[in-house]
């Protein structure tokens, strides 16, 4: 019994020492926990991005022209993109809101006519709040490198010797291979006409032939409202005067109307040669 009293008192002392030691270490421990939890939030966000965002915003969030803008770009973090659209909050807030609520209306005047879907469960999307938080943490983790690298979504450039909007002008001989590169590259055509069906599909599917074959008859249809008098003019018109004729089932003003200023005659000829090759 005596040893139990002695050992008990000794252990009470031990308990006090242990608790004190724990208490002294508690603040740094909680800081470490929060740091590691933040780190794991970024990890979770990276996985979510790969599974949900990468297909439109591109590998490493570099963007896909015509589909979805770059996120991993300096202009998002240096404030210029926010200023351009009149967002007065922080980038963090902007990113969170766009992910959560999406963009119900495509951004007018940009090369991105697709809508950003809503992702938060609060707005009918698939992601929980903590998953939206993870995505934001991952995206905001690009900030340092994006600012260091510079660059970003440059506004569509107006080229020297642009082709304009005249349907009847003669075009040089086109190269379908180069046209394909243009369509899939900086012009972003494939974003809406190949990868997604925001605009009429170019490729043949089912019993519908490709765009090249359809152009040959469309200008002669009764409901046609444009000025084209042959297949080539029809394709030129649909690129540079985008609202002249809207194929039934699609909306006006979705396709950017500035391709006349962005393309040279050679670019347009190559593009049309590519479209003509799709039958």
């Amino acid at each position: 019994m005596k040893w139990q009293i002695a050992a008990g008192l000794f252990l009470v002392l031990g308990l006090i020492v242990l608790t004190l030691g724990l208490a002294l270490n508690e603040m740094p421990r909680m800081e470490l926990f929060k740091a590691s939890n933040d780190a794991r939030t970024v990890e979770a966000g990276a996985s979510l991005f790969e599974n949900n965002c990468r297909s439109c915003h591109g590998p490493q969030g570099k963007g896909i022209e015509g589909v979805a803008p770059a996120i991993n770009a300096a202009d998002l973090y240096d404030g210029s993109r926010l200023a351009a659209i009149g967002w007065s909050g922080t980038t963090d807030n902007y990113v969170r809101n766009v992910i959560a609520a999406g963009r119900p209306v495509p951004s007018a005047g940009t090369n991105y006519p697709q809508r950003m879907p809503t992702w938060s469960q609060r707005y009918g999307g698939p992601l929980r709040d903590d998953q939206v938080d993870s995505l934001v943490a991952f995206i905001m983790n690009w900030e340092d490198r994006a600012l260091a690298e510079g660059g970003g979504a440059a506004p569509p450039t107006v080229v020297e010797g642009a082709v304009g909007t005249d349907l009847a002008q003669p075009l040089p001989a086109g190269d379908p291979e180069r046209g394909k590169q243009l369509a899939e590259g900086s012009l972003g055509c494939s974003g809406c006409h190949v990868l997604a069906e925001v605009g009429p599909a170019w490729m043949a599917s089912g019993d519908q032939p490709g765009i090249g074959a359809r152009a040959e008859s469309r200008f002669a249809q009764d409901d046609y409202t444009g000025q084209a008098s042959d297949a080539q003019q029809y394709l030129v018109e649909s690129v540079v005067q985008t609202n002249a004729f809207i194929v039934s089932g699609y909306q006006p003003n979705i396709m950017p109307q500035n391709y006349g200023e962005r393309l040279t005659a050679q670019d347009l000829a190559d593009l049309i040669a590519y479209m003509n090759s799709l039958r």
Partner: protein, 531 residues
Amino acid sequence: MAIFRMHIPFLDEVKAKGLRQAGRAKADDIVTRVTAGLNPSDVRGLLRDDAPGRPNPRLTPHAEGFWLHMRPTYYHTLVDGLYPTFRLGWLATFFFVFEIITGVILMVYYTPSPNAAFENMLNLLGNVFLGSTLRDLHKLGAEAMVLVVALHMLRTFVTGSYKKPRQFTWATGIILLGVTLFLSFSGYLLPWDQLSLWAVTIGASMVEAFPPEVVGQTMNLIVRGGPEFNADGLLRFYLLHVVLLPFIGLIAFGVHYYKVIHHGHSLPPGSEKVGEDTAKRVPMDSRVYFMPKIITRELFYIVALMFLFLAAATFFYEAPLEVKADSLITPLHTTAPWYFLWLQGMLKLGDKVIWGVIVPTVLIGLLLVLPYFEVGPSRRYGDRRLGLSLAALSVAAIAVLSFMGTPWYGVSTSAEQEAVATLLPQTHPGPLREAEWEALQLGSFTASEYASAPNAEMAALLESFHEEVERVNDEARSEAEGVMVIEDWQTDLKKVTLRVIWTNLVDGSPGEYSQVVFLHRQAAYDRGGGS
């Protein structure tokens, strides 16, 4: 006439005897009241272990006080040692109280909602002072309690203490065993992480099998609050955990302990004649009085256990927390909690209705009424060869079934998945996440060339990956190879792809399986923490 008259007798005493005398008398009085009958000199004698006077003043608190009236005034020397009780019943009581105290504090930081529960855990671990210690203690105490209660039952069986007149004590003990298991099980769900959701989902899966179908489905709905665990199910488990089960537990414990004291602790089987029960007839020279010996020992045990558990929680144990629960993603190798693994093992034996419902129900029913049909008079080991053999067999069966409940038995996952899961398990962090972040060199590494890995850490990872990838080769596949690709992904973030490639022997076509993980410099899986 005064409406209100105040009289302080102490002042009269002071007036009569002087402050010093009156103060001393008052202090003595207070001590006697607090101890429910022991004056200071009795207490001093108690602490010094002096021989008590006659009549023994140390018996008064048992008669006068509430707490000690529940405890016997003396025990038989034969049950005072570690054998035959091993103090298991006392330990179970200790953990019950321990869990109530830690649990009530944890309740302060908890909201039973899928939108808040997991975030509450992060808050508890990251913002609440000593919150993580509290959680570790509660979890560790729960595991210990399950073990102790199960051993208590085993001990009671082995010493034959369930026999007449203690049949009902045994039955209430079985109820307490159930309460303990379900307390632990219902608490398992509350953190609302992947581990808890899926362990409980598996544990609760046999409810649905209850025949006939309509009953099973209804019971399943009642338990889960819907087709699968969500807000309603979490709330139900929470209320079970903090209200209903503790309530049933307290009542069953009250009855159980009353019966224990009423019949006396059963003596070691060999110490009395067959068919006799002499526990209540304790000769004067065989009495060990509660005060001072037993109470001193119990206080010592309490302090020692608290020290032990605090030390364990500080240095060795961290209650696990996986990522937030997601009912759409079932992690590979999910299991029920360890004390229900035997059930999961039984489910693998065949029909869910037979092995998941009928057999467990019959077994528990048999256990409950065991003392009413097993009426052999002798408690001696030599006379109970069959019963003791059955007990040993049951323990072995539970062990084997528990092993069968683990993913290592009878789960057919593909070898390539298993190979990736060796480095990247889905139920705990595992070697890749726990590896030194800096040691993961960028580049593409072939598992079989682990010897030429850039450092020892990666060599170890690649070697264990390689060993598992070897198993992909079978009669249908060959040339299996593991590849680990490490890319720089973001500031402080690396992307690691584990890929298994092989050649299908039938048509020579290549096969591939891969999994990606992102690892952050500060994620610190090696020291627990995080979510």
